[in-house]
């Protein structure tokens, strides 16, 4: 074929590539939680998706499962020393009824990730999720756990081993501020980090 026809075909091919690329846009209105695939096809090249293996034996596993380390069941306090002081300044705060990690909170996640990546291999971290007063008890217990898990996903996306991150929800049972103001509620909506070292 002649050069102009080839150019023409290439132009169409390029145009089609742009169009095909455009179809992979995120749906409007869906908040992409860090480390979570969007609701359509997960992008296999995205950083947060690498290293994710579907356990073949579990027929119930979704393709984006990152199970919690079974060693973190039950009596963490018996197996580990709990240190609340070291990462206290990196407590992450959340918006009302939300588990999204705000832009201004990401440095805290990065600081914890850095700490974990340079800590001895047997050190783990417990993420404790908390809520404000304005939800029913069991809804808030689930919401607190989802906050802890969202932080866990962000840590994994920053390179922390998924098996070194434990989660626990306190719902609205451990509020820092019992006041009725918006500022008080905002203080309570948080994820706290507890360093775990084996006893």
């Amino acid at each position: 074929m002649n050069a102009s026809k080839l150019t023409y075909l290439m132009a169409i091919a390029v145009a089609l590539t742009f169009v095909a690329g455009g179809c992979k846009k995120k749906p409007v209105g869906v908040t992409n939680l860090p480390g979570y695939a969007n609701k359509n096809v997960p992008d296999p090249n995205a950083a947060e998706n690498s290293g994710r293996l579907k356990p073949v034996e579990d027929p119930n596993a979704s393709p984006i499962d990152r199970p919690l380390n079974p060693d973190f069941g039950g009596n963490l306090e018996e197996k580990f020393n709990l240190d609340r002081a070291t990462l206290q300044a990196d407590t992450v705060h959340f918006d009302y009824d939300s588990v999204a990690i705000r832009g201004n909170e990401k440095p805290h996640v990065e600081a914890v990730a850095s700490y974990m990546k340079s800590a001895p291999a047997n050190v783990a971290v417990l993420v404790e999720g908390h809520c404000d007063e304005r939800g029913t008890e069991e809804y808030n217990r689930a919401l607190g756990e989802r906050r802890a898990l969202a932080i866990r996903e962000a840590l994994i996306a920053s390179g922390v081993d998924s098996q070194k991150i434990a989660t626990r929800s306190y719902g609205k049972d451990r509020k820092l501020d019992l006041g009725p103001s918006e500022a008080a509620h905002a203080r309570n909506r948080r994820g706290e980090f507890v360093v775990l070292t084996p006893k």
Binding site: P67, G73, G74, N75, E138, Y139, A142, L149
Partner: protein
């Protein structure tokens, strides 16, 4: 062009039809098929605790005390030591109850008298039923059980830890609940007849909101062991665990349909918090609409299968009810955490008092009459009515 009158009439009707279709929000104010006026009774002759208990029981089961000439039933008797009670249908003069009670306490005799009256008019009483609840002791709590009116309240845990969400196993002296005794929230099955309990969900993450099936053989739970918060179901001892949801959206507070086929829970559909249901053997999640009411949670399905009562959060917390198939939901009273009684009309729930303390209360859904369970002191929540 001159318009024919018939055309004008037709056009007007069409506009009216479209206008009414456009605003087709049916505001009933009362829940169709569920609202009833209270049944008028006259109560006389009793005294002290017996009188109190009889009035309490009748109020929370949809009766109201009126002078004899306005009453449909006449209840009378005395309570000197033991209770004697008579109930009569005022219109046909028939004697419904005529009995002397002995044994147990005066309070229990009074409950038995009201139950006998209800049985005589074809209804099922709740006088002998029990509730479980969480008592708040500040930073920690304990699980308690008591009679439905708060009598005989006793702690069944001494965990000195955060505890939550007790649920009776139907027809058994056993409870599921969550306790943080070991640090993590674990789900326990506690046999009250032996005093033994077993952690049936001791997994990493948070193990929450146990709900036993109507036949007591299974338990639904919210677990996070897979790295997301999801609905699971297992045998009552925790074995044979099956996962029913896999999305990253929140699921919380499951409950079962009385036929054991469905698990209803608070979930999210299209970014909106909704009541949902899924087959107990797994499958697609379906939405249960609660038109007019947003942010539903903590559902409980009535034993007669017809209604789902739940908490909504629109500003404060409100107890609401919706037909079990979904539809228009109705606000009943300010409060949270409702649990149906075995009579499918009285609901136990928690309401906030002025000083922030939470008080357990009873609501008769058809008449909206309420009574606080004042025998229980302190701050208490998350009641579960044994069914």
């Amino acid at each position: 062009m001159k318009l024919k009158p018939s055309f004008i009439v037709f056009a007007a009707l069409l506009v009216a039809l479209m206008a009414s279709a456009a605003d087709k929000i049916v505001v009933t104010g009362v829940t169709d098929g569920l609202s009833e006026p209270p049944v008028p009774v006259s109560i006389s002759g009793f005294s002290g605790e017996a009188d109190e208990v009889i009035r309490f029981d009748l109020t929370v089961q949809g009766f109201t005390n009126v002078p004899p000439d306005a009453a449909q039933y006449l209840l009378s008797g005395s309570a000197n030591g033991n209770l004697t009670g008579r109930a009569q249908d005022k219109f046909n003069k028939s004697s419904l109850v005529n009995k002397s009670y002995t044994g147990a306490s005066l309070r229990r005799q009074a409950h038995a008298f009201v139950d006998d009256f209800l049985a005589a008019i074809g209804r099922k009483g709740i006088g002998g039923t029990k509730i479980a609840f969480k008592k708040d002791n500040g930073q920690t709590g304990e699980i308690y059980i008591s009679d439905f009116d708060g009598g005989g309240a006793q702690a069944i845990t001494t965990d000195n830890a955060i505890v939550a969400a007790p649920e009776w196993v139907p027809h058994k002296l056993a409870l599921f609940y969550t306790s943080y005794k070991r640090g993590n929230p674990d789900i326990y099955l506690h046999d009250l007849s032996t005093g033994e309990r077993k952690a049936v969900a001791p997994y990493p993450g948070s193990n929450m909101s146990p709900a036993p099936s109507p036949d007591g053989r299974k338990v639904a739970m919210i677990l996070s062991k897979s790295g997301s918060v999801d609905l699971y179901v297992a045998d009552a001892d925790g074995s044979d665990l099956k996962r029913l949801t896999t999305s990253k959206d929140d699921e919380s507070s499951p409950c079962w349909s009385p036929d054991g086929k469905w698990i209803c829970f608070a979930g999210k559909v299209s970014e909106r918090r909704s009541l949902c249901k899924v087959s107990a053997s797994g499958g697609a999640i379906q939405r249960i609409s609660t038109s007019g009411i947003s942010n539903p949670s903590e559902p409980d399905w009535s034993p007669d299968r017809k209604w789902i009562v739940f908490t909504s959060q629109m500003g404060g917390f409100d107890i609401c009810v919706v037909p079990a198939a979904g539809g228009t939901a109705t606000v009943l009273v300010s409060g949270e955490d409702p649990s149906w009684g075995p009579n499918s009309r009285t609901v136990v729930y928690a309401r906030r008092s002025q000083n922030g303390r939470r008080v357990l209360s009873l609501l008769d859904v058809p008449t909206k009459q309420t009574k606080d369970i004042s025998r229980i002191s302190g701050s208490n929540s998350q009641p579960s009515w044994a069914k």
